[in-house]
């Protein structure tokens, strides 16, 4: 009994102490809920398979508690079973994300799972993107420390999430950033702002291969500079990785490198942005046998425009980690309000061009000796064209109730390389889009999209139409049809018709849909996932509290 009283006193005292010292704020409990469910009908014509479970569901539910210097959180995930298109290794449920963070003045310590990014992510970026089925969170410890004004340090160690287990490799990293203008208060008012940063990441994976002498530790380093002066901006980041034979580069013992350069000028009503990128053998995973999006330590951003219109995103580009180089340029101009073509509200013009090619490589045929695979010629574009996109967009507001967007795209898409399907045609397409919004009153609005994609390759021409009606400000009804009218096989000239309805109130969002979904590729930020064809009901619920 004495022990019980002792425990009570101890617990009471320590909790009061903790309250006074650490939990000195007001406790806050936040969270979010997301449920995506689908009922599947088999449809052999569009390639939708019979799903034995009939209904599948994914859910992601987060709970975060914050009090003073402490925050902690947990995420429940369930895939019962995983929706079509998600890796079946997700089947099951559990708590894959748990963390505790302690913050004090200039220091922050996180234990458990965390997401982190050094610079642009060329050597380290862990993130969660449920739409893509990507979660490469690190599980371990992260420390952020701010030793002096303008100096920011981060250190990380951990292993990565791999579906419901952890990857076998260990990841260690360090990042330092100096904000030059913050170093001295007198420099704060200087118009030119300079930030420099550097990082180092190493991974460890035991090796015992009978044929290859795999490196157990692989290191990578990166440096970056960010300069801005009024409307002028310049950013560059370079990365280097020692030899890292893995499943993506076919186990060659070659070093990797990447360079990203971006510069621009902008002012009200005008902007110009130029970017260039070169990637050579930069796949970086915490398990050398991992494929696809599994266990990525780094992230290689894509240069090209992030298309959101359905048919403009029909053939989306995906970054080629083994090698690519490209440039992108975008100009925007706003015809001023009150000018002849600008009208009462002004007209927005936007033109963008990007081209991405292979590297110019020389094959070494050295599998039996050094096994470096190939060498590259600097500043020389490769012969293989991967992707090209030219976009024009005009947006005009005719009145306070009506605005219209028109877009034209001309695109080249190397399906053999991007979808890794040898023998596929190179797709050259022209895409036209009209997107209009009309308000009848504040609570009744109509959104209509008409799109066409014209190509002589693959499935040929497509048309797309969408109408969405928003009423009572919380409800919407929509219908869309995607029609493959140009398919060379008459039986496959299919309408993919879908109706949706939804309710939105505050943070709550409920959408119910019924119809057909064509097989395609969903890409977010150059990382892609194949979406299989399906036919049936969909239900989606999201809420935050």
């Amino acid at each position: 009994m004495k022990y019980i009283y002792f425990t009570v006193v101890f617990v009471t005292a320590s909790v009061f102490y903790a309250e006074a010292q650490i939990l000195n704020g007001e406790g806050q409990l936040h969270g979010s809920i997301e449920v995506d469910a689908q009922y599947y009908n088999p449809d052999p014509l569009i390639g939708a398979p019979a799903v034995p479970e009939k209904m599948l569901m994914n859910t992601y539910d987060q709970l975060d508690y914050t009090n003073g210097k402490i925050s902690a959180g947990i995420r429940y995930e369930a895939y019962q079973d995983a929706l079509q298109g998600y890796d079946p290794r997700y089947n099951g449920s559990g708590f894959p994300y748990k963390y505790i963070t302690y913050k004090q003045d200039n220091m922050e310590v996180t234990v458990g799972n965390y997401y982190e990014q050094f610079g642009s992510g060329l050597i380290l970026r862990t993130y969660w993107q449920p739409a893509l089925g990507v979660d490469n969170s690190l599980n371990g410890v992260r420390i952020k420390y701010n030793p002096a004004k303008g100096i920011y340090l981060k250190g990380i160690i951990g292993d990565q999430r791999y579906y419901w287990t952890q990857g076998v490799g260990l990841v260690r990293g360090f990042d330092g950033e100096i904000n030059v203008n913050e170093l001295d208060s007198a420099w704060n008012n200087i118009k030119t702002k300079i930030i420099v940063g550097g990082s180092f990441v190493s991974k460890y994976q035991a090796a015992s291969d009978p044929t290859y002498n795999f490196p157990q530790t692989v290191g990578a380093g990166a440096g970056r500079v960010n300069i801005t002066n009024g409307g002028f901006s310049f950013y560059t980041e370079g990365a280097y990785k020692v030899n890292d034979p893995d499943a993506i580069n076919s186990d060659i013992f070659k070093t990797g490198d990447a360079l990203l350069v971006r510069t621009g000028y902008s002012q009200k009503g005008f902007s110009l942005l130029l970017s260039g990128e070169r990637i050579d053998n930069m796949s970086f995973k915490s398990d050398r046998t991992a494929i696809k999006n599994d266990l990525d330590i780094n992230y290689l951003p894509t240069l090209s425009r992030d298309e959101t219109y359905q048919l403009a995103a029909f053939y989306p580009y995906a970054t080629q980690p083994n090698g690519e180089q490209g440039v992108d340029g975008e100009v925007k101009y706003k015809l001023p309000k009150g000018s002849l073509l600008g009208g009462k509200y002004g007209t927005d013009l936007d033109a963008e061009y990007s081209v991405i090619n292979s590297l110019d490589t020389i094959n070494l045929n050295d599998k039996a000796t050094s096994d470096k695979g190939y060498t590259t010629k600097l500043l020389s574009a490769g012969q293989t064209h991967y992707f090209q996109n030219l976009t024009f967009e005009i947006q005009h507001k005719f009145s306070s109730d009506f605005r219209l967007v028109a877009q034209y795209d001309h695109e080249y898409y190397n399906m053999t390389v991007i979808q890794q399907e040898p023998g596929s045609p190179n797709i050259i397409s022209n895409i036209g889009i009209l997107d209009g919004y009309y308000s009848f009153s504040s609570a009744h609005t109509l959104h209509v999209e008409v799109q066409g994609l014209q190509t002589a390759q693959a499935q040929g021409n497509w048309a797309f139409a969408l109408a969405e009606y928003n009423f009572g400000s919380d409800w919407f009804l929509g219908a869309l049809d995607e029609y493959n009218y140009g398919n060379s096989t008459p039986d496959l000239r299919i309408h993919y018709f879908t109706v949706t309805g939804g309710y939105m109130h505050n943070a709550l969002h409920i959408t119910l849909g019924y119809g057909k979904q064509r097989a395609g590729i969903l890409c977010i930020g150059g990382v892609c996932r194949v979406i299989p064809a399906s036919d049936g009901f969909t239900l989606s619920i999201t809420n935050s509290f």
Binding site: I4, H30, E116, Q117, N179, T228, L272, D306, S442
Partner: protein, 170 residues
């Protein structure tokens, strides 16, 4: 038995009142690191508007409804500011791929907002934002009083109503 109850009671008492939590509505904006549009580190705890309301809007350069919403607010911003003293903070959720586009995007648009970058999505997670656009109103005492997820044409009128309420004008 009595002793067990006594024990339970003491434990219950020892749980400080501050443990009993509040949810997102009526709570303060969580303190999280974000970046200014020039790439400098800063903290959301520095967000303030001298006792006047703040609108926090999560958006991205690739999100059409987000841009439509911020354009619509910008057309009314001067009037809203005169009425309520409101300040708009636009949080770009653009990740490593598109964060380099944000600065020129915002300058070209000529938005008069305070724009911050959240490339690692720390603030987005702390505010439990699942999809963009997501709009919050923070009242003069720093409490979240309104959350709205999604944007349809005309939703800015709803936001305006909620803003007037938050400013005590309605």
């Amino acid at each position: 038995m009595k002793k067990i109850f006594a024990f339970a009671f003491i434990v219950l008492l020892s749980i400080p009142s501050s443990i009993f939590a509040q949810t997102l509505l009526n709570s303060k904006v969580p303190a999280t690191q974000v970046k200014t549009i020039n790439g400098a580190n800063t903290n959301t705890s520095t967000f303030s508007n001298n006792g006047k309301p703040i609108i926090i809007d999560f958006w991205a350069t690739w999100c059409k409804p987000c841009i439509a919403e911020l354009d619509a607010i910008n057309d009314e911003y001067a009037d809203w500011h005169k009425e309520t003293g409101v300040k708009v903070i636009a949080i770009s959720t653009d990740d490593a791929r598109t964060m380099g586009r944000v600065q020129s995007f915002v300058r070209e648009k000529g938005w008069d907002y305070d724009v911050y970058l959240d490339p690692n999505q720390d603030f987005q997670h702390a505010m439990e934002v699942i999809n963009c656009p997501c709009t919050f109103i923070i009242d003069g005492s720093g409490k979240i009083v309104y959350i709205h997820n999604s944007y349809m044409e005309g939703d800015e009128k709803k936001l305006h109503e909620a803003l007037l309420k938050a400013a005590g004008k309605k």
